[in-house]
Amino acid sequence: MNVIEIKNLTKTYGKARGISDISFSVEEGEIFGFIGPNGAGKSTTIRTLLSLIYPTSGSATIFGKDTVQFAPEIKKEIGYLPSEVFYYDNMKVKDLLNYSASFYKKDCSKRIRELAEIMDLDLNKKIDDLSLGNKKKVGIVQGLLHEPKLIILDEPTSGLDPLMQQKFFELLEEENRKGATILFSSHILTEVQRLCNRVAIIKEGKIVTVEKISTLKENTYKKFKVETKSTLDPNYFNLAGVNKLEVKDNLTSFLFKGNINEVMRKIADIEITNLWIEEPDLEEIFMHYYEKEA
């Protein structure tokens, strides 16, 4: 079942770019990454899903219901954490969380205490006095306290130290195990790589590709580095699918996409002293998509 289904969603603001013709869906129980640089349209898409802004054309459904028409109903089961959290300053953390909980028709007090403990958050402080990272924690607890079925995160990690980030990811994975679907928007690829099953890459308001992280990696280049006793003839690895060949003294390096056996046979024929075959990280794949389109 698809928890989120976006169909030809378009949002334009006057002349400024919004998003155009975005379609993808998020399945139940997935951690879905939504990546792209700042200004590519991630927030616009998410804000449309939450009906904070309304689409120019196209539509989206969450839990099978139209996001505009059934907004309040859908939101009962959504937890949202915006990239910048600002809350009513004159309140204590506890009061704000209770205010947030009062919108959901269930007792969240136990969950608030649990989450605060995990995130190491002092409930009795005034929000005014909190650091950016601690405000973020308030945001996280606020987004998760009603145990939502869908968690939408818009660049959630800024301001969190690595330790807290780790705890936060564990928390998300735990929620996911319990059945929550997660839409995770980010421009930091390592965190997407660490957490997500599938990703949508967005560029200048358009979806470039939607792929499984594993497929994304399979379908791309592998990095080869071959060390030999003597300098190799640069033409030795002149195969289809070889790119960026570089020969530097005894070290030959190139990128390869295609049947890996062909390269392996070539390598087997020569005397080598060392060999590295590396998966490109997501960053490189991502750059690849961006360069290709540019």
Binding site: I53, Y54, P72, K76, Y99, S102
Partner: protein, 265 residues
């Protein structure tokens, strides 16, 4: 209900401060009354020396200026001015506060409709204003009894005082529509002071020209105190206009707010 309570809590401090301010303004005026009545004739001569237009502009009516009710009316115009600023502040901040403090994301991703949000915020503002008026009315009546040298008609006194509430309601409605239309209001006070004073001066000029029709331009002139004292009632046409302004402004606000894009800032 939770939004209403939260909003009321947020308004508590400002409501108390405004209520005290209104009472202080009226107390200051009323404290002059005993010395005024002592030298009635001298004052009358002095005021007669001023051009009639100026007297009109400041709402000084020589026929009843020296009765407690007439004197109260003079002070009341300043109370109304302050009250209008309070109401305008409340109205303007209803939506803009959420945008400025970036809490709109928090509130509007909760399972509530925008109509519910606006209704609760509106109710909270309304309750603040009504509470202000109840306390003000009690204090003003008490003060009037303290300084009055002769009997006066309490029901007229109450009718006069209630004009503060009506003017406030109109400005509350104006404030809401502004806060819904304008994308981002940096300073609520600037907007509300500018609007309120614009209407105040518009009212002053319209009364110097003496044309009846121009009174419709400024809510400050919807309630003619001399008329109220004479007839012990309000002028129906202005009540209706005031009501229409409010309904239109509030109705349009609901409509616009429901359709509006809430941008991240």
């Amino acid at each position: 209900m939770n939004i209403l309570l939260h909003e009321l809590k947020a308004y508590r401090k400002s409501t108390i401060i405004w209520t005290i301010s209104l009472i202080m303004v009226v107390a200051l005026f009323m404290s002059f009354y005993p010395s005024f009545t002592k030298d009635t004739e001298e004052f009358r001569k002095l005021l007669e020396g001023y051009p009639a237009a100026l007297r009109e502009a400041f709402g000084i009516n020589l026929d009843n200026f020296f009765s407690i009710l007439g004197f109260y009316c003079y002070g009341l115009s300043f109370v109304t001015l302050c009250g209008a600023i309070q109401a305008m502040n409340l109205g303007t901040s209803i939506v803009s506060k959420e945008v400025r403090e970036k809490t709109a994301d928090f509130l509007l991703t909760k399972p509530v409709t925008r109509t519910t949000v606006l209704t609760n915020k509106l109710l909270a503002a309304l309750i603040s204003i009504i509470l202000t008026n109840i306390v003000y009315l009690a204090a003003a009546t008490l003060l009037a009894y303290q300084v009055a040298t002769e009997d006066f008609n309490v029901s007229i006194f109450i009718l006069l005082s209630l004009t503060v509430l009506f003017v406030q309601l109109i400005f509350l409605a104006l404030g809401i529509i502004i806060s819904v239309i304008v994308q981002k209001i940096k300073s609520v006070l600037t907007v509300s002071l500018a609007t309120v004073f614009a209407f105040y001066f518009l009212g002053m000029f319209s009364s110097t020209s003496g044309e009846e029709a121009k009174r419709y331009l400024s809510p400050f002139k919807y309630f003619d105190t001399a008329y109220i004292i004479e007839k012990s009632s309000y002028e129906a046409s202005f009540l209706i206009i005031g009501g229409i302004v409010m309904i239109l402004a509030v109705g349009a606000s609901y409509f616009i707010y429901a359709k509006k894009d809430i941008h991240s800032v």
